[in-house]
């Protein structure tokens, strides 16, 4: 049984102009020691599905799922009090903007010790020792001084290290990193990614990396799940995904990378991601797909088998001869 098992998760938001489905039948399954990357453009529902699991969505959201279990415990119908025992301890999350996810009114030390006090019940002395140890683990120089620093006195990279230290403070079984390096410079990004994968190897926790950067995916992840307009359209091990993408969207996305360009002109994906009012009847990608026909436009495709990367497509690409025959 996987550590995290989510099946058929859907999230609807009640907006002034009606229901909006942000996540549509997504499955996520992660085991201890896995590094799963969730890739997608803005609006693909990659963050929302994780926030739904953490119970961090506002009351306007309606969350439904067939299965949502973490470490054998059903997450559906947990009270807030019960949920708070799990999140921050066994399941932790770091966010994109390190500057705005720390509280500017409290020192970095206060904020990390708060987690230690609530979840582990350490006394003041132990808390301090543990906080210093954690800061050393994430590579913060002069940890004693940095514990007393306020977030505005630290750089973006340092703040992200503080966030990571807070997230791993209670040795979580699952760490969710939501675009952890998007706001950082390239050389700092490299440091943070190395730190995350290093910690993952050392502690054996599961890591879910949410990102839109194909480069980060290629270098960090083991398994990749591609989302488009709230649906999971494909899932494959990282090497296979880059070599033989099965869903036309994945293929088009990879072709649009400037570093894969063969000429001055880049291949493009025409059109834009469908919004609340122009969701197509059939396959959600059909209006932008170069292979789409009438069947794609009328019937939503079901996911293919695992040999085709669970691609949600009637005509998956790179299918082996015997499969199509």
């Amino acid at each position: 049984m996987p550590l995290l098992d989510i099946r058929n998760l859907s999230v609807d938001f009640a907006t002034a102009s009606g229901q909006f489905r942000a996540v549509d039948g997504v499955d996520v399954s992660v085991d201890t020691g896995d590094i799963l990357a969730i890739v997608g453009e803005s609006g693909s529902g990659k963050s929302v599905s994780m926030l739904a699991m953490m119970g961090l969505l506002p009351w306007t959201a309606t969350i439904t799922a067939d299965v949502m279990s973490f470490g054998g415990q059903d997450l559906r119908g947990l009270s807030d009090r019960q949920r708070r025992k799990i999140i921050g301890k066994d399941m932790a999350m770091i966010f994109q903007e390190p500057m705005s996810s720390l509280n500017p009114c409290f020192t970095a030390g206060f904020q990390i010790k708060e987690a230690l006090r609530l979840h582990l019940g350490l006394d003041a002395k132990e808390r301090h020792a543990k906080a210093v140890e954690l800061f050393e683990m994430v590579g913060i120089p002069a940890p004693e001084d940095r514990l007393k620093a306020f977030p505005h006195q630290l750089s973006g990279g340092m703040n992200q290290r503080v966030m990571i230290a807070m997230a791993i403070a209670c040795s979580p079984k699952l760490l969710i990193a939501d675009e952890p390096t998007t706001a950082l410079d390239v050389t700092i990004q490299a440091q943070i990614l190395d730190l995350l994968t290093g910690l993952q190897r050392e502690t054996g926790m599961a890591l879910i990396l949410i990102t839109h950067d194909m480069g980060v995916v290629a270098e960090t992840a083991e398994r990749v799940q591609v989302q488009y307009a709230g649906q999971k359209v494909e899932e494959q091990p990282v090497g296979d995904l880059f070599e033989t993408p099965h869903h036309p969207y994945t293929a088009a996305l990879l072709a649009a990378l400037p570093e894969r360009a063969t000429s001055r002109k880049l291949p493009t994906i025409p059109g834009v991601v469908p919004g609340q009012f122009d969701r197509p009847a059939g396959c959600l990608f059909s209006p932008r797909c170069q292979f789409a026909d009438d069947r794609c436009r009328s019937t939503p495709p079901a996911p293919c088998g695992p040999e085709l990367g669970l691609a949600r497509c009637h005509y998956p690409l790179n299918a082996k001869a015997e499969v199509t025959a």
Binding site: E41, D185, V186, D194, E219, F242, L253, A256, P258, L266
Partner: protein, 318 residues
Amino acid sequence: MNTPVVVAENLTRHYDVKGGLFSKGGTVRAVSETSFKLEPGKTLAVVGESGCGKSTLARLITMIEEPTSGTFAIGGDNVTPETWARHRADVQIVFQDPYGSLNPRQRIGSILEEPLKINRPDMPAAEREAKARDMLKLVGLRPEHFDRYPHMFSGGQRQRIAVARALMLEPKVLVLDEPVSALDLSIQSQILNLLVDLQERLGLAYLFISHDLSVVKHMADDIIVMYLGRPVEVGPKAEIFAKPRHPYTKALLSATPMADPKAKKTRIKLEGELPSPLNVPAGCAFAPRCWKVKDKCRAERPTLGDEGHPAACFFPEA
């Protein structure tokens, strides 16, 4: 070789910071002694991390700010604050965030016509509108978009509008300040294609500011790598990517993630972070993070040499 449209020599911009109750004042050396040439139909890319002075450079070239010292000339004509008004039409800028750079209360048509209203006051309204409609077509938008408001467009379309607005005065130089970093991958390639296409058609010179090396590799002809306000390496794109000479360039290239899971990686791990521009190290600015640092680097500042492609380092890579 073409005659360059912009020649910049030793451009420098320092900001004085006033001391407060608890801190002393100082000087932020945002850009120091930067020289370059922009040729028509070519793209010069400026790369570097935040705080390296790339955006300040854009502000100097677009005449938003006056350089502390150094000069630049447009079409052989020296630019000083007195002649700014005359030259401004030649240099236009496209900003990073297409959501923040368009006025939400203006229709697209009036956004496009505004530069003409101000700069060509004697142009008849009908001609102005015709020009704006032509421009809309040129950047790949439809005629019915003319009367819409910015909120009705997606990020990619807004960036097209921003490009169209910048082109209304028929500039020679377009400064592109991170034009695609706020856009999704599938939209990014559309805008990059548009920029390539416009450059070919109109012979524009681009000053392309970006931190994304894969985009730079696709777009640029020449590259300036900046670190803490100074260029550390200058050269043609192919040479910089194939044979980086400055250790910082090498580290930057190795830190950029490649979208190829099979690529062999020898990542150079840089220790520490960018020093504050208030307090630039005495010798080579990169010395505190460099793995090849020697005593000489801490004492003296290396200058851009002129052998090969110039790199400001005492011990450049072979």
